[in-house]
């Protein structure tokens, strides 16, 4: 099972670059999501990998084969890939079995009996045994989705491409299909590129997530990496909720804003440089009365401005006294504070993540 290497890929539509110098390495059998807002170039990237588009610059390699470069593109039918589309793209004039068998009919060396057996097996894997002679128009959205999955997997592709495959399903089904895709990936271990704009989906499904912004990969990592160690402002804000404090580095490990001083997770900052610090709302601990703050934490004081009860947690908006900063804090429901109440806030230095490239990727 080969991996995919994308080097400096660029694709323009007129004067607008949809993808600009995008590089990405996908390990064999890895499932990598391309995550980003609409217009970030994720679908264009997928279509470039599939061979529907020719890049203006850059190369796409699968294993030892160079499939796309500005001088030549191996057509989609010779790339040994399979793709699952947002619209499912099932052929309405063919039965479920005919849809699934299509790719096998085009493969040399697959006999009719073998073909029928493999189609039957695959339909059983996606839990659609017995639906062979139905037409796509007679199936529900979730079932059509499963047919599309079966049609792509039955040919045993080297690379599997998915273009927002769950966005047409309702919320419950979407949740279920996330685990289904994960299960199928564990079974078949096909190198997979998965395009989505839904960060929750990307985090559940993928081994690693590549966050795309304006045609580039701004950060690649596991869900945990991206959430706990975002490198840019864009990633910090796009993956989960966060507080951003714009300040200036005063020591290699301290960022200041007004009289607010935050010890941060790294110590390599250049004093004098502007730095944005990302603090997740649930990393901030509210300390009331004269209770002790956890040792080693940054301690600030503040006043509650607004509270919202969310059922499993309470969301506070806290005005910090040391500076003109307002922080969002997610606290357990065991502490309830009213607006106007003063308290202390404790934040571990490890939870204060300086954004290394605050300018790049600024929305």
């Amino acid at each position: 099972m080969p991996g995919v290497t994308i080097k400096g890929l660029t694709k323009r539509y007129g004067d607008v670059a949809a993808v600009e110098g995008l590089s990405l390495e996908v390990q064999p059998s890895e499932l990598v999501s391309l995550l980003g807002p609409s217009g970030c170039g994720k679908t264009t990237t997928l279509r470039l990998v599939a061979g529907f588009l020719r890049p203006e610059a850059g190369e796409i390699w699968v294993g030892e084969r160079c499939l796309s470069s500005p001088t030549g593109v191996v057509p989609p039918e010779r790339r040994r890939m399979a793709m699952i589309f947002q619209s499912y793209a099932l052929w309405p004039h063919m039965t479920v079995a005919q849809n699934v068998a299509y790719g096998l009919r085009l493969k040399a060396g697959v006999s009719k009996t073998e073909r029928e057996a493999r189609v039957k097996d695959m339909l059983r894997v996606v839990q659609l045994g017995g639906y062979e002679s139905r037409y796509p128009g007679e199936l529900s959205g979730g079932q059509q989705q499963r047919v599309a999955v079966a049609r792509a997997l039955v040919v045993e592709p080297e690379i599997l491409l998915l273009d927002e495959p769950l966005s047409n399903l309702d919320a419950n089904l979407r949740e279920e299909m996330r685990f289904e895709i994960r299960r199928l990936h564990a079974t078949f271990a096909i190198t997979t590129l998965y395009v989505t704009h839904d960060q929750g989906e990307a985090m559940v499904i993928s081994d690693r997530v590549a966050v795309l912004y304006r045609g580039r990969v701004v950060q690649v990592g596991t869900a945990e990496d991206l959430f706990q160690r975002p490198r840019t402002r864009f990633v910090a804000e796009f993956i989960g909720k966060t507080n951003l404090v714009d300040g200036v580095a005063v020591e290699p490990g301290v960022v200041a804003r007004g009289s607010l001083r935050l010890r941060v997770a790294v110590t390599g900052l250049k004093p004098g440089a502007p730095v944005a610090v990302s603090i997740r709302p649930h990393e901030i601990i509210l300390v009331t009365g004269d209770r002790a703050t956890p040792p080693g934490h940054n301690v600030l004081t503040g006043v509650v401005q607004r509270t919202s009860y969310l059922g499993d947690a309470v969301d506070y908006q806290v005005r910090v006294n040391e500076s003109d900063v307002t922080l969002r804090v997610t606290a357990p429901t065991s502490i309830r504070l009213r607006p106007g109440v003063g308290m202390r806030l404790a934040v571990a230095p490890e939870a204060c993540v300086p954004l290394i490239e605050p300018e790049e990727g600024r929305p």
Binding site: P75, P76, R78, M83, F85, Q86, P92, Y102, V155
Partner: protein, 191 residues
């Protein structure tokens, strides 16, 4: 023939296969603004002299009809191909089918009923055409509409009634035959 050409044109334009496809679309639709009589006179002038002398043969009528009905056929086919989602073709490509194979096994079956409808529209338009025919006909290539026009000048309403009925029956029969023979929609074809 007209429907076929219109379908090919619409496919090319819709899938942007050739550079300049927008010009092609414009050319296909342009005849709609030209009155039949003007078109006929233009064709008459163009094809009564070398290099291409078509006047006097059935072919000048063929060219006239093809031109005149092209906008109708093109608009119909365009709608048909817009209805076939490009992802349906792309799904075939990724699974290993070349462009032609996809055209034959996926696009053509899905566009079939639309192309048949196009043919019906073009056929009906041609059968009843008078304004161009009346300028381009010769004694050997007198079409029914022209004959009816002549008979009316002579006041032979009985004969006109017979021919009119015949035209009606022919059009009707042709459309019915096309619809039943080729236009059978498969179950579940509509999502």
């Amino acid at each position: 023939m007209g429907a076929g050409l219109a379908a090919v044109l619409a496919y090319i334009v819709n899938r942007r296969i050739l550079p300049g496809h927008q010009l092609l679309a414009f050319l296909a639709l342009a005849p709609v603004v030209i009155p039949g009589v003007v078109l006929a006179v233009a064709l008459f002038v163009a094809y009564t002299r070398p290099p291409l002398v078509l006047y006097g043969s059935i072919w000048i009528l063929f060219v006239a009809y093809l031109t005149k009905e092209m906008p109708v056929g093109y608009a119909q086919s365009d709608a048909t191909f817009k209805g076939v989602h490009p992802e349906l073709e792309e799904a075939g490509r990724v699974l290993g089918a070349g462009r032609l194979r996809v055209l034959g096994e996926i696009t053509a079956p899905l566009a079939r009923s639309g192309v048949i409808a196009t043919w019906c529209f073009v056929f009906i338009g041609v059968i009843r055409e008078l304004s161009a025919s009346i300028i381009l006909f010769t004694p050997n290539t007198k079409v029914i509409s022209v004959v009816i026009f002549d008979l009316k000048e002579e006041g032979q309403f009985g004969a006109i009634a017979v021919l009119g009925l015949f035209m009606l029956a022919m059009t009707f029969a042709a459309v019915v035959v096309m619809q039943t023979l080729l236009g059978r929609d498969f179950i579940g074809a509509k999502e």
